[in-house]
């Protein structure tokens, strides 16, 4: 495994994304639209519901964005890339790329929700740290499931069914941590939750890296 390869693959992904601007635009529009719907549907948003709504929109826009991470490329192009790179490098670059996309989504979402409703975040450092750790975990799960499904025809149906139960533990932890960042609850022991979340991320990441080489040739 070489970092140079990972870097090249990452650059390739970003370049493709940059060329097909409509995908990025669609994700941004999805986020803004759902924030707007919430603004219209909820007359008054409390910090508690803000917290949950944030994660739900985050989840579904992330699902929308990441669903194509393995099916977007043509299979021939795939074969070519697989000739050149180690499978571990491919999944690593995908996970990093998807984490970046999810972080971008979350920043846009924070801005859009704050613009339309309220901005209840008190502890930005904790909130952003939680979002980053959550992005890593969720993107690892989504990327792995997308890799499992690969080029299957029923992919979009199965994707949500397979990936949503997997991220529930991460999501529950995230909601608890961000509730702290919004000062809804006050838990002095939040550090252990962050460490637990980081641990889950690390384990999922490790398992995805180990298993993917068995999957990629299918």
């Amino acid at each position: 495994m070489k970092w140079k390869h990972v870097w090249t693959l990452l650059r390739k992904d970003f370049l493709i994304e940059w060329k097909e601007k409509y995908v990025l635009g669609a994700i941004v529009l999805f986020v803004i639209l759902s924030s707007y719907i919430i603004y219209k549907a909820f007359q008054q948003v409390t910090p508690m519901s803000w917290n949950v709504l944030f994660w739900i929109i985050f989840l579904f826009s992330g699902l929308n964005a990441l669903i194509r991470s393995f099916s977007s490329e043509l299979s021939r192009q795939y074969l070519y890339i697989y000739q050149l790179a180690h499978p571990g490098e491919i999944i690593l670059s995908k996970i990093i790329y998807n984490t970046a996309v999810l972080s971008l989504v979350s920043i846009i979402l924070i801005a859009a929700l704050s613009l339309f409703t309220i901005s209840p975040i008190n502890d930005y450092k904790l909130f952003l740290l939680a979002v980053l750790l959550g992005s890593i975990g969720i993107s690892t799960c989504f990327t792995f499931v997308a890799a499992v499904l690969g080029q299957q025809t029923s992919q979009s149906v199965l994707m949500s069914v397979l990936s949503l139960p997997l991220i529930i533990p991460i999501l529950l932890l995230l909601i608890k941590i961000t509730a702290n960042a919004l000062s809804i609850v006050d838990d002095s022991n939040i550090m252990s939750d962050l460490i637990l979340l980081g641990g889950i991320d690390l384990i999922l990441f490790g398992v995805a890296m180990i298993i993917y080489p068995f999957l990629w040739r299918l």
């Binding site: 499992v148 499904l149 199965l158 139960p165 529930i168 641990g199 889950i200 999957l215 299918l218």
Partner: protein, 347 residues
Amino acid sequence: MKSLWWKCLCIALLLYALFVGMLTPLKPGILNISPFLVSSGERVSMEVEAYNVEAGKEWQAYLKKDSLSYLKASAVELTNGKFKIDFEIPSHIPSETSLQALTLLITDERNGTLVYPEGIQLKSSTNESTSSWLKEGHPRLYKKEGFLFPYRNILRETIRNMYYHVPLWFSMFILFFAGMMCSIWYLKTKKIEYDHRASSLIYSGMLMGVLGLITGSLWAKATWGAYWTNDMKLNMSAVSMLIYFAYAILRSGTEDIERKATLSSAYNIFAFITIVPLIFVLPRVADSLHPGNGGNPAFGGEDLDNTMRAVFYPAIIGFTLMGVWLGQILLRIKRIKEKIFFNKIDF
């Protein structure tokens, strides 16, 4: 006959769990007390409904605040399974708070000690407090000997569910773990046999999990008062069942045998890895009604005494073997199916 011994063991263990678990009587206990609110300086006469008591030799009753403060009853009388206990509560009580929870202890040489933990509220009218009630030394508390299950206040007879509900989760976890090992082995060797083994084990583990949910909700109705509670452990196990249902959907949604095997093996390993924090780590983050969480006493201490262990551990082994057995039958069906598919069988 060689492969039959563990099936016979399974049957024997399950029958043992059924008969010993159902037929062993409980120790005597207290069903309810009236009145449960007493105030200092008054003379109260309590009606206590007892469970499973036999005629005693010499009954004694105590109100206990902590291990240093006991108050002895002036008179204890048992008629028709009901106690009538008189207490003369002094005006000076060893407490600074105006409301103090007390434990009622009724003891006898033949029946052992009946406990009603923190079931009596003591209201103090005066602000004076003494340091201790204890004057006559520690009361003698008897223990009922013999092979009997402990009596727990809200659980009562449902303490027996311990042998039929909890082992289901243990066996589910063992079966899922074995399934994951088979999946790993499949990815290593690419022999379809291991995928059959993994999926059979997973399916029988799912049966155990679903039964665990159903039995759990029946037990919850009897003790917590509702079929479905917001309990963390309960919801986490429901989620873990969802993950494995997704596994089943993935398997039925893929046509090609080898592809199905590889994809589901990979998903299975990943799923098990996410189950581990789901079941063990997260309930410790949030509160749970289950023993061992959120301030509830864990297994091990008083809840699982030696008589219960003698049934509980065999039940775990019995249910696990049952799961393996059910999985094995499914596995054999799959093998035959495969042989028919490849026309390897002579009819």
